[in-house]
Assembly symmetry: C2
Homo-oligomer: 356 residues x 2
């Protein structure tokens, strides 16, 4: 049988701590050459609507010890919008019912069969959050009590979960330019996490007392500048623009998710991205990833984590990889099936007798 | 609705002439930067069974003028076998019911929605055959009357269809080491194509009078050597090993599908491919693709096709591209829907409200 799951089902079974543990194992195997990853690729074309772009994105991963392989794909209509003076990249829910299109296909490495197909939303946020969690496990102060989240969207929630999973944080401040959004995030997350989550009116208010500052936005303009840095704080970003290059360069201990992980972008004729003007697509030329540790260096002990209470640290969790979907997607499949969730489709629909 | 089709349905609606016309349009748009292609990538890992390998392969394409984007993927268990002194790469049908796993996912570039999911088998053979057809349209003698097909498998049939679609061929000889296979191919293809298809006992018997020689095998060892070349003949290959480098170099007019199209292969620890020993994975270092025309050069007129009745020509149709599946997959979707075929699934299963 090939299983279809929906995001609600996966959300009900995926715990952040389990995702972090699964990814930790996955990254160690990746570091040892046991896991396999094919980097993110994107074909971008003019979409026909004013200034929007059609983007087909895919990324693959294989982890034979757990028996899973996966492809994650997105079929997106993308636009850009000015919000409070900052340019944001936004996916437009253009599919029927105003929906987004992102999928994970999970396969067995034992016999090749398609095990499951599910939307990528929940696994996507959990893998990003869990990866940031592994970073902060090694880089944030052990006694971190206050955290700031910049952003109030889907990804911001997973950052909050990861912080709470890894550190004894009592209070999280959330800044987002939209008052209603940050207040609703604060309410929802207080209920979900059991720690106090409070809306902050400015970035400065949010980060003033924070031991951890997690950016989680779609901004193409910097949020954390050099002047925001404070001793002892751990900073993380999920997009290249979020922490200014000058700030990154001034941070004592710099770690990147994976070096040389910029996506392969194929452009057709006439495509224009706001990122081009902002120089925000590729990691900034003004930082030097070669001097940074990678996440796997922290996990294997090749690079040390935080060395003092006062140093500043950062984790640049840019450009996820397909392999994260293999690990967290495999976990989601097992948990969902163990809980009796999902809808069965005949595997024959997705296999064939013809040698292709 | 998202449509599920099977290979029989697609086979019933896809005519080789239509596939050739669709691909011709596609290649012209690709040459003009209007079409987008992301090259083939493969992650290979030890599969756990004796000497076999698990391979996850994917390739993407986008063609906004027709409104289609696609991902083609394969989740394969691969082994190698000696057949008549030649090493063959073979996919093992290890999925439930002894089936292979290859899929095409088709999306709308208008709104991103998943339009269809179907096994790749029929589209796979038609796109390879149709591409060879475009090559021979420009390179084979216009009065070609006899053709040879080396191989009797799934792909060999499409080569025969393409030859008949493009040239007034009266007789096709088929060689395959297995007598029963070549005879059954001859019977089936005679019935399907309405031209005489005859089994030949040796490669030499097959090619003796042929104006077109189409190799269509899984061999890792050369089939056509320098000594086989004959004036006026058009040679084509779908695998790098099929025509020996010395033979290719001696051919008057050499054309390759696309230059720099070697797949990206990610290998995990301990994986061994028979291709490594044979040097058969990448295009041979002993040929010079840079000196060859590409298929698109023939289609745009940038490179001339056949210039005399006596010259030898070749078309190296190695390493297909995802974009072919976008074009032929889009055509298959339209034809199958027009014929009222397919099974509907709710698009909601493959979309989401969560901004991923």
């Amino acid at each position: 049988m090939t299983w279809i799951f929906n995001n609600d089902e996966l959300d009900s079974v995926l715990a952040m701590k389990d995702c972090i543990a699964t990814l930790e194992r996955g990254y160690l195997d990746l570091a040892n050459g046991i896991g396999g990853n094919r980097g993110r690729a994107e074909i971008v074309s003019p979409a026909g609507r004013d200034g929007t772009v059609y983007a087909l994105k895919s990324m693959d991963g294989v982890h034979t010890p757990s028996g899973y392989a996966s492809i994650r794909l997105n079929s997106d209509i993308i636009g850009w919008r000015e919000v409070s003076g900052s340019t944001r990249r936004e996916k437009i829910p253009a599919a029927p019912g105003d929906r987004y299109v992102g999928l994970v296909l999970l396969f067995s490495t034992e016999n090749g069969e398609p095990l499951a197909i599910f939307p990528d939303g929940v696994v996507q946020r959990m893998r990003v959050g869990a990866t940031s969690g592994l970073g902060l496990r090694h880089l944030a102060r052990k006694d971190a009590a206050t955290a700031a989240i910049i952003g109030s969207g889907w990804q911001a929630g997973a950052q909050a979960m990861a912080i709470v999973a890894e550190r004894p944080v009592k209070r999280i401040l959330c800044f987002s330019p939209n008052k209603a959004n940050r207040e609703s995030f604060a309410r929802d997350m207080t209920a979900r996490l059991g720690v106090e989550v409070v809306a902050a009116a400015t970035v400065e208010d949010a980060i003033r007392d924070a031991d951890i500052v997690a950016c989680s936005t779609s901004a193409l303009d910097p949020i954390i500048g050099h002047n925001h840095l404070r001793k002892g704080v751990h900073y993380s970003a999920i997009k290249p623009a979020e922490i200014a290059a000058e700030a990154i360069n001034a941070i004592d201990r710099q770690t990147v998710h994976l070096r040389d992980n910029a996506p392969l972008v194929v452009r057709t004729h006439g495509v224009e991205l706001a990122e081009d003007k902002k120089g925000a697509l590729a990691p900034s030329a003004r930082i030097d990833e070669k001097k940074m540790s990678e996440l796997t260096d922290l996990l294997t002990g090749k690079a040390p984590g935080r060395q003092s209470e006062s140093e500043t640290t950062c984790f640049l969790n840019y450009s996820g990889i397909g392999y994260q979907f293999t690990m967290v997607g495999g976990l989601a499949f097992e948990k969902a099936r163990a809980a009796g969730l999902g809808r069965e489709l005949p595997t024959e629909w997705f296999t064939q007798v013809e040698h292709p």
